[in-house]
């Protein structure tokens, strides 16, 4: 597979601090390490850029200096008379053509066998306008099929990615769902693991760890409900929450309403993943929806057994029930409490599942995932 290619990774932006951007920088670095010439392209700048380092082994370009006007669609007959909006849209279209022209310029630097990876559907709108003749275009969806299906992105994904040479979902199950939905080029590509644990959790700490953004989708309210069933019987155990978000005040209020605020620690956002994860013995994922949860991968890499709602194919793919963790039917908080209890009570079970989790997550080691990418590139060339 030793061929070296030009690989362009096009995202909405590549500067924000977010899961997708982290993935883009990581895959860029991994592919560059294999000798590919990588370029990250953001359509716009981020409002709050994160420092991803200076000496990246890949170039970074941004198409717009100032963000384009949002898309506007007339809803009523009266809307259609809004001349200012029409003008804005005409300006937007012209701007899009110019930006796509810049993208074409960037693509023109490529040699044979070049690949364009459109990591998000919004970014694909510019890729679709640019000249990609002679290149392979790969579209990606970084969330579960169900999550896209429930949003306005569904129609746009079908529209903009149906012409791509390949369309990658996070898991085989999601890819199958996309194939059934009429995307015949659907295939699966997992995200790579991006931590290299120097040490793993001792599993002796009496702490259940949760880590993430405090939003409705992450289901912290459900976790607290389950915790309220567990806590009275296990006063020695604590629930430690890392992260912040819009729901935090509500979650704090709920904790005191349920009378569990004593055993629940709000530890705030953290950069020290190792300390956070090795400080716990069980990892809880209470999400209502997920793609391919990075936090679960990290926890598994540190050897934590996982308790999760079985809410998405990505969760099922990572956590084999009763092998690397315990899966609970979505919304079944009593079941979640039961699963936590089992792991809290049984040191042996914790160690067995934790060890299996560490073993199992190696499927997604950087090397394994980059091999898959290179096999895909080769297949697309045949």
């Amino acid at each position: 597979m030793g061929e070296h290619r030009d690989v362009f990774v096009v995202c909405n932006n590549v500067e924000e601090l977010g899961g997708l951007q982290r993935w883009a920088h990581q895959i860029g670095r991994l592919l560059a390490e294999r000798g590919h010439r990588v370029r990250l392209v953001g359509v716009t700048h981020a409002d709050h850029p994160h420092d991803y380092g200076r000496d990246t082994p890949y170039e970074i370009s941004v198409l717009y200096e100032r963000p384009p006007a949002p898309r506007w669609r007339p809803r009523t007959a009266l809307d259609r008379l809004d001349a200012a909006a029409w003008t804005r849209m005409a300006v937007r279209r012209a701007g899009m053509r110019r930006a796509a022209g810049r993208l074409t310029e960037i693509f023109r630097t490529a040699g044979p066998g070049a690949v364009v990876i459109a990591a998000q559907v919004w970014a694909m709108e510019w890729v679709a306008l640019a000249d990609t003749r002679g290149m392979t275009v790969v579209g990606m969806s970084h969330e579960s099929y169900a999550a896209t299906r429930a949003s306005s992105r569904y129609e746009r994904v079908k529209r903009y990615f149906s012409g791509a040479d390949a369309f990658l979902a996070l898991t085989r199950e999601d890819a199958d769902a996309w194939a059934v939905a009429g995307m015949p080029a659907a295939a699966a590509m997992p995200n790579p693991l991006h931590v290299h644990p120097a040490r793993t959790a001792s599993l002796d700490e009496r702490v259940v760890v949760w880590l993430g953004r405090m939003s409705y989708e992450k289901g912290l309210d459900l976790l607290l409900e389950a915790w309220a069933r567990v806590a009275p019987r296990y006063p020695g155990w604590r629930l430690r929450l890392y992260g912040s978000g819009s729901e935090e005040p509500g979650i704090r209020a709920l904790a005191s309403e349920l009378g569990v605020d004593g055993g629940v620690e709000f530890a705030g956002p953290t950069h020290d993943l190792e300390r956070a994860l090795t400080g716990g013995s069980v990892f809880a994922l209470s999400s209502r929806e997920e793609g391919f949860p990075m936090s679960v991968m990290e926890a598994m890499a540190y050897g934590l057994p996982v308790v999760a709602f079985d809410c998405a194919p990505g969760v099922r793919e990572l956590v084999a029930h009763e092998a690397a963790g315990l899966l609970v039917p979505p919304g079944d908080t009593a079941g979640f409490a039961g699963a936590l209890t089992r792991l809290m009570e049984d040191d042996e079970l914790r160690r067995r599942l934790g060890g299996a989790a560490r073993e199992s997550v190696r499927r997604f080691s950087p090397d394994a995932v980059v091999d898959r990418w290179e096999r895909l590139f080769a297949l697309l060339d045949r």
Partner: protein, 954 residues
């Protein structure tokens, strides 16, 4: 295009696609192009021309000339008459590591080769199969082929791991390793149609690993009409059928040779379920000679199958097969009528009979035990299914003329006499077969003697049937019965009595140019129909020309477009979304009609429950309120002195928009904004055992939008009834009720405290035929839901009714009451020991009539406790039920009666309830106190005092 850098592992061609063509120069280019434009570039095309006489060979050569490295052409010296020979020749010439087959009228999806190749290489499978989609060329409509097997990727070590694979017998949507084909010595059989069936069976059996992908790979063009029917659609050809049987015999041998008797049985079942039914459906449109020959061929083959096939086949197709075997043509056709193609309602055209409490397909062949078993349709529930779930079968038996008046007469089945002679009316309809909803009709005189329905209609065809002409040349005949307030559709077929001549004189609106007569004919769908023909000199001269113009020009296209647009507009007008939008924007701004109350119980399913008792209290007190009752389906059983509106109709939304009061027990349509002048009494329909609303796992896991929708519905309530503090802790919290709580108890439970109306109870007892002196057991289970929370339609009674009759039939009588969201099948004629009381709207009188209640998790337990009579909880699936839905308390701990899971315990408990000691009195009392503390017998009065007192305002 980039340089092709690698050509597969072997350095050669990855996939060879064998394209076979015979006289199809027009479509061949699309097929070949679909291969050349594959996203996988390492693909070659081998075109095999089966000695075409049109320009196919030239077209093929042109491709070969323009793509010398990718396209080769092989020409057979003489036509082989099938697909087998050219495909075999193509196989000889294929050089790729893998092989696929493509017919000249079909196309491959752009990614087909790459997807299948990737799966083959990843899994090491000999054979990879992908989704085939049938594309109907006239409408562009698409239907997936066996979609159930193409939902997810899968790998099987052998076909024995998933015998369902055998259902997809196409050779074309698959990719085969070429060395596998050579190793197994696979070749198509030549000189027979349906060579695919045998090929696939052999390939599946020989493959060491089989992979399936859900990706669309193959587009199968299906031509429905026109002269150029492809082989698989030309079922009119008897040779075809003979070929199919020959191939089936060869497949049978193949299975037996491989020692796969199980697979043979499944394939036999498929022959019954699929192949035979397909031919039978169209048999009504064939002439007598064809039918006879067809039935001879079929009988001969069916005789070879053996009884196991009929056991394995689905019930109705098994009946069809057995009846063909017995030479009973009518009963076989009736079976085909009851199993129409997907999307069509079944027609019941057989005279069911009842023998010893079982229902049989017909009154013949019932001597042998085997035939009895096959013909026993009791468990299908045809005898008790609602009339809207099927059509009845009827016949036209005579057409006679007096001057210009025509008299059409016939009969129809009356399943087990379910249609009563009183209040029976009907009309004969002529429905445009192309355009749904367009029809002419005349009244028909209808009568029944209990066994069959007789009908006749007299009319002047020229005045009644006014086709436009050209765009509506065929009309189907239908009879619509109105029986006791319900509409029942009767599909009419020909009875072969030779009345077809001379047809009906009509005058199309486009004048005689477009025809002047309609003659009877039988289309492939089997019902009797009329088509326009020319008889007079003018019409004979003009109709053929006019037809050509209409069909060839834009006329047909424009008419189709008009029809489609019209249908879309009508559908939009009738849609719930439109009505709700009009309600919110317009209707609710109309003035309130003071004193109007809209009542609804269980989404309109019944006249029952709390709304009924509130309504009756209002009526008793003559408060002057105007009642509107919402009903779903049939208006039968709803009060005659109220205004009735069908749920979902414009009248319904209009009534809700202008009502001063809303009273219901479940929920008026989501999305309706309640105006502030309207007072909404939500009575609810029972205390909670299973978790409700926000306490349900499904809601917890659901999106915020889902919670918002729920909140919007619940926030409309102004008053909410509770019958205990338990309700306050469970229902009120779970639903998030913010309304004023009325601790009055339930109006529906007043009779349980006070005793019901003796006259009403006596009447009901007589209606149900309840004998005196027997213990009346009411069995009232609740519904079950699937993972998505949708109620399961059918509830299987988890104990043996036959055993109940045998052991307790002399002392007990069982009333079976299904939840209104599900249906149970109660075999008829279990004497007076088992009575289906599903049709009774209101359950309260049934509670009063019964001596024991058997339930599982139904909220009726809370109400029945007020009667202080024995209760038995039969909960064989308690763990599954509670784990799916969650419960507010542990039933086993709290239950005011024995909680049993087995049949023996259940029957023992029922015996004890009649004559044993009463060991649960204390628990019952505590249960009633805990869950019914506010039910004191004066709820209806208290509710009316609280909400309606003072009569209508304004």
């Amino acid at each position: 295009m980039p340089v092709v850098s690698s050509r597969g592992a072997s350095g050669g061609v990855a996939v060879s696609v064998v394209v076979i063509v015979y006289n199809d120069a027009r479509r061949l280019p699309d097929a070949v192009r679909s291969v050349l434009e594959q996203s996988l570039r390492s693909v070659e095309v081998v075109i095999v021309d089966d000695a075409s006489t049109d320009g196919s060979a030239r077209v093929a050569e042109r491709f070969a000339a323009s793509h010398p490295d990718r396209v080769r052409v092989v020409r057979l010296p003489e036509n082989s008459g099938g697909c087998g020979r050219p495909r075999n020749v193509g196989l000889e010439h294929a050089r790729g590591d893998h092989v696929m087959f493509l017919d000249s009228d079909d196309t491959l999806d752009r990614h087909a080769c790459r997807t299948l190749l990737a799966a083959a290489e990843e899994t090491g499978a000999d054979l990879v199969s992908g989704r085939c989609v049938r594309v109907f060329t006239d409408t562009g409509e698409e239907r997936a082929w066996y979609p159930g097997q193409y939902r997810r990727s899968a790998v099987y070590e052998s076909v024995l791991d998933n015998p369902d694979l055998l259902y997809d017998t196409l050779s074309t949507n698959k990719c085969y390793r070429r060395d596998f084909i050579e190793r197994a010595g696979l070749r198509f059989v030549e000189g027979l149609h349906y060579e695919d069936l045998l090929w696939s069976a052999q390939a599946y059996l020989a493959a060491r690993r089989i992979a399936v992908v859900p990706h669309r790979v193959y587009n199968w063009a299906v031509v429905r009409r026109g002269p150029n029917l492809s082989i698989t659609n030309r079922r009119a050809d008897l040779r075809n059928f003979a070929d199919r049987l020959a191939v089936h015999r060869a497949v049978d041998e193949e299975f037996l040779w491989h020692g796969a008797a199980g697979l043979k049985r499944r394939k036999d079942a498929k022959f019954l379920n699929h192949d035979l039914i397909l031919y039978l459906r169209e048999l009504r449109s064939r002439d007598a000679e064809y039918r006879r020959e067809f039935l001879d061929l079929a009988r001969e083959y069916l005789a070879e199958l053996g009884p196991a096939a009929f056991e394995e086949g689905r019930p109705i197709p098994a009946i069809a097969g057995l009846m063909v075997l017995c030479g009973d043509y009518d009963a076989a056709l009736a079976a085909a009528d009851y199993r129409p193609r997907k999307g069509v309602r079944p027609t019941l055209s057989t005279d069911l009979v009842e023998r010893d409490g079982r229902v049989y397909w017909c009154d013949r062949h019932l001597d042998g035990a085997f035939a009895r078993r096959v013909l026993d349709v009791t468990d299908l529930g045809v005898h008790s299914a609602p009339f809207r779930s099927f059509k009845l079968g009827g016949r036209v038996t005579s057409v006679t003329r007096r001057g210009s008046e025509v008299r059409v007469a016939g009969d129809a089945v009356n399943p087990l006499g379910r249609i009563a002679p009183d209040r029976l009316t009907g009309r004969l309809e002529f429905r445009d077969r192309q355009r749904k909803g367009r029809a002419f009709s005349v009244p028909a005189a209808v009568s029944t003697d209990g066994r069959r329905i007789r009908w006749e209609a007299s009319f002047h065809p020229g005045r009644v049937i006014r086709p436009i002409g050209l765009v509506d040349q065929t009309f189907g005949l239908w009879l619509v019965l109105s029986a006791d307030g319900r509409n029942v559709t009767v599909r009419l077929t020909s009875s072969d009595v030779g009345y077809e001549e001379p047809g009906l004189a009509v005058r199309p609106r486009l004048t005689r140019v477009a025809g002047d007569f309609m003659e009877f004919y039988v289309p492939e769908s089997g019902e009797l129909a009329l088509r326009t023909v020319a008889r007079g000199a003018i019409a004979r001269a003009t109709l053929p020309l006019a037809r050509r113009i209409a069909a060839s020009g834009g006329g047909a296209r424009i008419w189709r477009a008009v029809t489609r647009r019209e249908r879309a507009v009508l559908a939009a007008l009738r849609s719930r979304r439109t009505k709700i939008a009009v309600y919110n924007a317009l209707l609710r701004r109309l003035p309130i009609r003071r004193g109007t109350v809209v009542f609804e119980s269980h989404l309109g399913a019944q006249y029952s429950d709390n709304p009924k008792y509130v309504y009756e209290e209002l009526r008793r007190r003559k408060t002057g309120h105007r009642a509107v009752w919402s009903y779903r389906g049939a208006a039968k059983g709803f009060p005659a002195d109220a205004e009735l509106v069908r749920r979902g109709s414009w009248a319904y939304y209009h009534a809700l928009a202008r009502a001063e009061f809303w009273v219901d027990n479940q929920g008026f349509p989501a999305g309706l904004v309640k105006r502030p002048e309207t007072t909404y009494l939500q009575t609810w329909h029972g205390s909670a055992y299973k978790r409700m609303g926000l306490d349900e796992p499904r809601t917890k896991a659901g999106t915020r939008a889902r919670r918002e929708r729920m909140r919007a519905m619940v926030e409309r309530y102004d008053h909410f009834l509770i019958r205990s503090e338990h309700d306050r802790r469970t229902l009120v919290r779970g639903l998030g009720v913010t309304a004023d709580l009325l601790p009055t108890g339930y109006p529906r439970n007043d009779p349980l405290v006070n005793g019901g109306d003796p006259g009403e109870l006596d009447a009901l007892r007589r209606r149900l035929g309840l004998p005196a002196g027997r213990t009346v057991v009411l069995y009232a289970p609740t519904f079950r839901a699937d993972e998505k929370g949708r109620p399961e339609r059918r509830f299987e009674i988890p104990f043996d009714l036959g055993r109940f009759v045998r052991e307790l039939g002399g002392t007990h009588v069982l009333l079976v009451r299904a939840h209104y969201l599900s249906a149970v099948v109660v075999p008829p004629g279990l004497g007076h020991a088992v009575v289906d009381v599903g049709e009774v709207h209101d359950v309260t009188p049934l509670l009063l009539l019964s001596d024991v209640l058997v339930t599982d998790y139904s909220s009726l337990m809370f109400d029945y406790a007020l009667l202080d009579r024995p209760m038995v909880f039969h909960t064989p699936d308690a763990d599954a039920y509670v784990s799916r839905r969650g419960a507010y308390f542990d039933l086993a701990e709290v239950a005011p009666g024995p909680v049993v899971t087995g049949e023996d315990e259940l029957f023992d408990a029922l015996r004890e309830a009649r004559s044993g000691p009463d060991r649960h009195a204390g628990r019952r009392r505590r249960f009633a106190e805990r869950f019914g503390e506010y039910d004191t017998g004066s709820a209806a009065k208290a509710v009316v005092d609280a909400i309606f007192a003072g009569g209508p305002r304004g």
